[in-house]
């Protein structure tokens, strides 16, 4: 073992080394991979160009600036049929975000309630929640969307049912009407708005809520500080409540909040907010379907905290509510939040099923009517995909940052 007499002498380069020498092998492989990759892309693109030329088409983005010539029934920003296709797409994007946001909030609510109750020691409730989870996650979400949409459009009465002296239906509290054209609710309005514009008033409301949020945070910090210093944690829940409610209430009174109720006028309701059946169908179907998945995540997260943790906390004399807040939740949330965020991503992607019920999200405008009217299939679908990929990647990036920040430290 002193010397290796038959050690290979350092040789010059041979062609065969490209394949057998570990130094070059990987470059050879990568070169081959690159050639295959560019070859196939080139082939596809040449096909594309030939086909486009044969059909007399080209790739152009000018259509985005042309007037759309179609109307959108739910417009969060100003939009007419004279607006450009680009604006129609933006309206669609906003509608996507609206329904995704609503569905995420509602799905989280359903999921947390069902997930926690599924672990309840109440047999009947636990069984009921299992039934909910299994029933909803094993049936395609498209079927749920269509079922709820059918309930909204077929099972609910038309506005005319509310007409006349002894109408078949009457409005709930004189405020809400459930019709096959959607649900009508009162619309909040400021009588003396800030600087004469409703929008500024709403921004002010948001600012006040943000201020309250930071106020409550400061209160919590103060409570912790006091506890650290004296050992006793001051009772703060009524202060928390006051910080949330009092400024808001003052603002509402000062700006003269009033409600515009929906009223039956002719054959339809006027005033108030009309929430269309398509939005409700999409919103609730996504919420209740994804809620079933979230319930499973929540259950898994809570079960991931071993019984030993609660027992150890209990044997130290901690009370039930403290064990939950100080020991179980901080650990469970680390397990729950990553899959929760990918469920939010799923909701956003599944909201593209809007097109099945005619809700005008970005798939319905850009990928639907704009595509059909202009025939610019490649451009429209490319833009559509880019929009979804951007959203997905940004949410994934946020998730990675979160995961790294809460990772448990181990050896």
């Amino acid at each position: 073992m002193t010397a290796t007499p038959d050690a290979p002498p350092i040789e010059g380069f041979k062609v065969a080394d490209l394949w057998f020498d570990t130094r070059y092998r990987s470059y050879t492989f990568q070169l081959i991979a690159l050639v295959i990759l560019f070859g196939s892309i080139g082939y596809l693109i040449s096909n594309l160009l030939t086909n486009l030329a044969n059909a007399g088409l080209n790739i152009s983005w000018d259509f985005l600036r042309e007037p759309s010539n179609y109307d959108i029934n739910q417009k969060p920003i100003e939009y007419t049929s004279q607006s450009s296709h680009l604006r129609a797409s933006i309206v669609g994007v906003l509608n996507t975000l609206i329904v995704a946001f609503l569905a995420c909030v509602t799905a989280t609510f359903f999921g947390v309630v069902a997930g926690v109750l599924r672990l309840s020691n109440n047999w009947i409730v636990a069984r009921l929640m299992s039934a909910y989870v299994e029933a909803f996650r094993n049936v395609p979400v498209l079927i749920w969307i269509i079922i709820i949409f059918s309930i909204m459009t077929v099972a609910l009465p038309g506005p005319r049912a509310y007409r006349g002296e002894d109408a078949e239906r009457s409005m709930l509290f004189d405020m809400f009407a459930f019709t096959n054209r959607g649900i009508y609710t009162p619309r909040p309005e400021f009588l003396n708005p800030l600087m004469g514009a409703q929008i500024f008033s709403w921004i002010l409301v948001l600012l006040v809520l943000a201020a309250s949020f930071f106020g409550v945070r400061a209160l919590t910090t103060w409570a912790t500080k006091t506890q650290n210093a004296t050992g006793y944690r001051p009772v703060t829940w009524y202060w928390t409540l006051a910080i949330w409610l009092v400024p808001l209430a003052i603002l509402m009174v000062a700006m003269g909040l009033s409600w515009e109720y929906p009223k039956l006028a002719g054959f339809n309701f006027q005033g108030g907010i009309q929430i269309r059946g398509s939005l409700i169908a999409l919103w609730f179907a996504l919420a209740i379907y994804t809620g079933a998945f979230i319930a499973e995540n929540v259950r898994a997260g809570i079960q991931a905290v071993s019984k030993g943790q609660t027992e150890a906390a209990a044997s130290l004399g901690l009370r039930q509510s403290w064990i939950m807040n100080l020991v179980v939740l901080p650990q469970a949330l680390r397990v729950i939040i990553p899959p929760l965020i990918s469920q939010y991503l799923n909701i956003t992607k599944n909201s593209s099923l809007a097109i099945a019920v005619g809700y005008m999200d970005v798939t319905g405008t850009l990928g639907g009517i704009t595509l059909n009217q202009t025939g610019r299939a490649i451009e429209c679908i490319l833009l559509l995909m880019l929009f979804y990929v951007t959203i997905s990647l940004s949410i994934s990036a946020i998730m990675n940052v979160y995961n790294n920040s809460v990772k448990l430290k181990e050896r």
Binding site: N228, S315, R334
Partner: protein, 260 residues
């Protein structure tokens, strides 16, 4: 050497004051009778080792003492407080009784120091600074003050178990329960945990230990209890228990555990 230590341990005072008294206690899991007619009185300063084959109910017994398990018949009195379903009594007993688990059960999301200060701050309402000083005092006692800012996952098993002991001590308990504290440890770590427990015993802590460490029992315990099939089969002073077991079950168990 061992003899000398044993002698030292034996000299520890056992007062007449009763720390724990269990009378006629029965417990069932469903229809399974896990604990049968348990009668046990522990005086302050006593160090009791409970041994027995697995499934004999020894862990269940000490878990009943701080109400981690509910018993169906009989009474348990700890420090003069009768254990009932009243949450106040349970809280009171739990804050007097420390417990160390087989799998440590440290809180993985908190640092070692935070593990030790959590309960004193929330249960005992001790200011944070003071709680941290106490925690450091006990961490020094279990000889790992330098790990205070690490997380449990970064420590070895033996270190984690010593932290778990320190965490219990921070509540200044009058009684300590140990549920197989060394069973999940590698052999080289067992000693460091046992040393910690021995020094605790030497300070006069009332201890109930479920363990198979017979050397520890001989050296520290003033009473050994043998349990089998949910009942106390035999109890005696360690010398008599090991040298002259009375019941056949005890003899069999001892021959199995010391046989090799």
């Amino acid at each position: 050497m061992a003899k000398a230590q044993t002698a030292a341990a034996k000299k520890l005072e056992v007062s007449d004051e009763i720390a724990i008294s269990i009378t006629n206690m029965n417990k069932w899991y469903g229809a399974f009778h896990v604990l049968k007619e348990i009668d046990l009185t522990v005086n302050r300063g006593e160090r009791i080792v409970i041994c027995g084959p697995s499934g004999s109910g020894k862990s269940t017994l000490i878990r009943c003492i701080n109400a981690l398990e509910e018993h169906q018949q009989g009474s348990i009195t700890v420090d003069g407080t009768l254990l009932s379903s009243d949450i106040k009594n349970i809280d009171k007993i739990r804050s007097e009784v420390g417990m160390v688990f087989q799998h440590f059960n440290l809180f993985p999301h908190l640092t070692i120091l935070e593990n030790c200060t959590l309960a004193p701050i929330w249960v005992r309402k001790i200011p944070k600074k003071e709680a941290e000083d106490t925690a450091m005092h006990f961490l020094e006692k279990v000889k790992i003050p330098e790990q205070a800012d690490k997380y449990p996952g970064q420590l070895s098993g033996g270190q984690q178990q010593r932290v778990a002991i320190a965490r219990s001590l921070c509540m200044r308990p009058r009684i300590m329960l140990f549920d197989e504290p060394t069973s999940a440890l590698d052999p080289e770590m067992i000693k460091e945990v046992l040393d910690t427990m021995i020094s605790l015993a030497e300070e006069g802590m009332t201890m109930l230990c479920v363990t198979h460490e017979m050397g520890f029992a001989r050296q520290v315990a003033n009473r050994v209890i043998f349990m089998d099939a949910g009942q106390i089969v035999e109890q005696n002073e360690p010398e008599a228990f090991f040298n002259n077991p009375q019941s056949d079950r005890t003899k069999l168990f001892l021959s199995q555990i010391l046989g090799h």
